[in-house]
Amino acid sequence: MSYDANHAPSAHHDEHEQHGTETTMFGFWVYLMTDCIIFGTLFAVFATLCHQFAGGPTGKELFDLKNVEIETAILLLSSITYGFALINAHAKKKGAVLVWLLLTFILGVSFVCLEISEFSELVAHGAGPDKSAFLSSFFALVGTHGLHVTIGLIWMVVLFFQVLGRQGLGSRMMTKLTCLSLFWHFLDIVWICVFSFVYLGSVV
């Protein structure tokens, strides 16, 4: 990581860099597609097990839609705050990037906190993942999404300090910020399916 992005690159170097960026972005996109298959598998499992209550509580009895509404709003808001961070990064406004990243981070953390409190409440009421096949698949699916969000948040902290530090908003940094934006928006897309099919679908 000794590369200094603020160094004025030669034309040839620039072209090389651009090509590298494009390959990185495509590679990251392919990774996201494999992640898509992981979530697709978990959704398929949930769809087949969502009525296997084993005498335990059903989704209708367990899920608090108020909580889901707040979680959905938070994640959607965090999607556009990250978008605004990226717009400012392209405009090379470092201060604004840091503010929007911080805001996105706060929203992300509150989402994870809400999810943890929801999970612990479920476990405390004896509706843990060991209760029924329905709850196992619920915890596996929603937990995997929550884990992704948590990893995205750690990534965001790292990028925050890299933008703040010597790296600034060079082309390498832009690639990193764009990769995280793809990751973050992708997680919001997964959440659309989670609230539609897992929460709302169980309450119908």
């Binding site: 298959i37 697709g40 509404e69 999607s79 556009i80 978008g83 659309i192 539609s196 709302l200 309450v203």
Partner: protein, 112 residues
Amino acid sequence: MSQNHMTSHEGESHGSYGSYVVGFVLAVVLTVASFAAVLSKAFSYWTTIAVLAVLAVVQVIVHLVFFLHMGTATAKKRMDLFVFLVTVAMVLILIAGYLFVLWDAQMNMMSR
């Protein structure tokens, strides 16, 4: 190719405040519609599930276009789109296959 890349970098590839806000408003409307469809209890079980599925698909497309800036403008974007469509096909086969096989098995084992 590099020409394409330049335009994609300066053009809509990272969106504008306007496009993010439009995407956000559409997403909010669709989310509210999903919750309303369930909470109003206006439809039967399977109709509600179908309404939820349609709204979810539309909202996913809104996110892909307005937040992930997918499109067909450049060769790179078309490649991304192609890879995405292949993945969607795989996921659909996966989910449909799962439901087809296991739903049937559950019914026959009377485990519901």
